[in-house]
Amino acid sequence: MVYFINDIITGALIGLLYSLVAMGFVVIYRASKVFNFAQGELVIIGGFIVWYTTMQVGLSLWLSIPLSLVLAGLVGYLIERIFLTKLIGESVFSMVMVTVGLLILLRGLVLLLFGPAVRPFPIIFPLKPLFLGDMLIPMNLLIGGIITIVAAIGLSWFFNRTRSGLRMTAVAEDHVVASSMGISVKGSIAFAWVLGAILSTIGAMIFLSGKSLTFLASDIGFAALPVALFAGLESIGGLILAGVIIGIVQSLTTNYLDPLIGGSLGSVVPYIIMLAILLIRPTGLFGWRTIERV
């Protein structure tokens, strides 16, 4: 029973990590109407920046973490300036294809710059797990979960209550309408990408803390994708619930169902949930319903 509860708690915390990465998707979507397929690559770029500033340059963590966040934001800004400003008002297809192109472009660049070697990632959060009775909770995930919840509440307040957040929401509705109302679409998209890259870097720190870093870590982007869709692409608060549900289901499948069937159903179960939710409720749990006119 204790193990069961422990699995649920660990699953929920991993789910919260997915939520944080998924928050990158949602923030970029909420402020620019672009669905960023390259989110996983942003996570490893963030990871490599952190690795570079601590392990290569040798800065202390207190200095390197803020510096990494700034650098990551800069990378996000550059990507936006080079690829996305030119697509304002273009079709969904163009946007999707550009981010798909970015996905393989960034992966190739990371491989060219850093190579396929496995690298140790700095220990950012304490390695010693938290013991609660017989239960064992990984510290990095616990702190990460708290960061995720705080970030979700903060960003949710920002996008739903503040003036500038609501402006960005208008951009997500329609680029042309928003810009004719005097809202800076460019500024909004730039902000979205900076924020998305920063969130990805935080995600990388939590995910990779004390582990090893390769370019394959970008798979977290695809693992987080079902969470974003389950919550609905417009809802930041909903991510928490969706992440926790998917994390728990995945953890239980991995621990109880996989030994029975002798496979790794756990890794696909989020996708099965995603397909089901897309069929039953295409907008996700908390997404906007739009009415289309001709």
Partner: protein, 350 residues
């Protein structure tokens, strides 16, 4: 537009694919050159042409699904994989002839694609792209986790060579003719599909699915059909691939391969069968160049090792996709059409 002096006088002439004498001559010359190719060029080029023809079948399928019907499909490699696995299982376990396994591979892929096409009835845009990515993951999962006696698991399956009337189709040249025959049939079929009732329904749904529905087109069925046809082409291409490589493994059908196919139709031009062929040609040439040049560069930057080809391919293709979307979203065919119409009406500006 047609050159001056060419007027369709009946619906039949208006529907023609090959419209002028010069086009007939060019097509005949192309076919003759292709048939004679094994005697004209080296084995290396024949090997590249084999890959190009197989990619052409798959890319044309993707063109129908994405370019004509507007349904974003990032799972074409998975559909191809379903076809490749079907053909290799049938050929290795039952010893069926390739004349049957290739169409059956197409049908198996079509059923798989149709299932994901049904989701397109409710969702669109990038949500759809996501379900096709899910197809990709589910395919991997199925191959790797089903009992390995079924699909070979991570070991893959070895495929027996294709046979026709007791003759084994082995070696680049024999396979070249087999691939050419299949590719010719499939591409001719594609020209037929896109100017038929279905093709016009695809274009209507692509341009505005709400309006198409109001005009009496069954939008859900049309979208599912688009996936069915696109996946059928991918399945046939996958079967050809299985016979060419004689081995299938799950690593040959990843999301990256799907993106390569998408890159082909973007570079060639969306909504044009010839565009898909142009795209296949350009992308395969780039790929071949990197494969040739890559190892030389790899010697000078040694820490990358063999990954430089993969990495370089990703950088260039990713850059090409993004650049084309930003600078020339209609692809190379669009440029060619502008050029063609301007020389046809020369010396007048319009």
């Amino acid at each position: 537009m047609d050159p001056s002096g060419i007027f369709p006088t009946s619906y039949r002439t208006d529907r023609r694919v090959v419209r002028t004498r010069w086009q007939v001559a060019a097509l005949a010359l192309f076919v003759v050159l292709m048939l004679a190719a094994p005697y004209l060029v080296s084995g290396r080029i024949i090997a590249v042409l084999n890959l190009m023809m197989i990619s052409a079948v798959i890319a044309v399928g993707l063109q129908i699904c994405t370019g004509y019907a507007g349904q974003i499909n990032l799972g074409q490699a998975a559909f191809m994989g379903v076809g490749a696995y079907t053909a290799s299982i049938l050929a290795s376990k039952t010893g069926m002839t390739f004349l049957l396994t290739i169409p059956l591979a197409g049908f198996a892929a079509a059923v798989f694609g149709f299932f994901f096409g049904l989701t397109a009835a409710r969702i669109k845009g990038f949500y759809l792209a996501l379900t096709t990515i899910a197809a990709q993951f589910l395919f991997h999962f199925a191959v790797l986790n089903l009992p390995s006696t079924w699909m070979g698991g991570s070991n893959g399956i070895t495929v027996p060579p294709a046979e026709l009337f007791g003759l084994r189709i082995v070696g680049e040249t024999a396979q070249f003719y087999m691939n050419f025959a299949v590719a010719a049939i499939m591409i001719a079929g594609a020209f037929g599909i896109v100017r038929s009732r279905f093709g016009r329904a695809f274009v209507a749904v692509r341009d505005d699915d709400v309006a198409a529905g109001i005009m009496g087109i069954n939008v859900a069925a049309t979208k599912a059909n688009a996936f069915l046809i696109g996946a059928f082409y991918a399945g046939v291409g996958g079967a050809l691939w299985a016979y060419l490589i004689r081995f299938v493994g799950v690593d040959q059908f990843t999301l990256f391969h799907s993106i390569f196919f998408v890159a082909m139709i973007i570079v060639g031009g969306m909504g044009s069968i010839v565009g898909a062929l142009v795209g296949v040609f350009v992308i395969r040439i780039i790929q071949e160049t990197i494969a040739t040049v890559g190892p030389n560069i790899a010697d000078s930057v040694s820490f990358l090792g063999g990954d430089i080809v993969f990495a370089g391919m990703n950088v260039i293709l990713g850059g090409v996709i993004a650049l084309f979307m930003i600078l020339e979203p209609k692809g190379l065919m669009h440029r060619w059409n502008i050029l063609k119409s301007s020389y046809r009406i020369w010396p007048f500006p319009y």
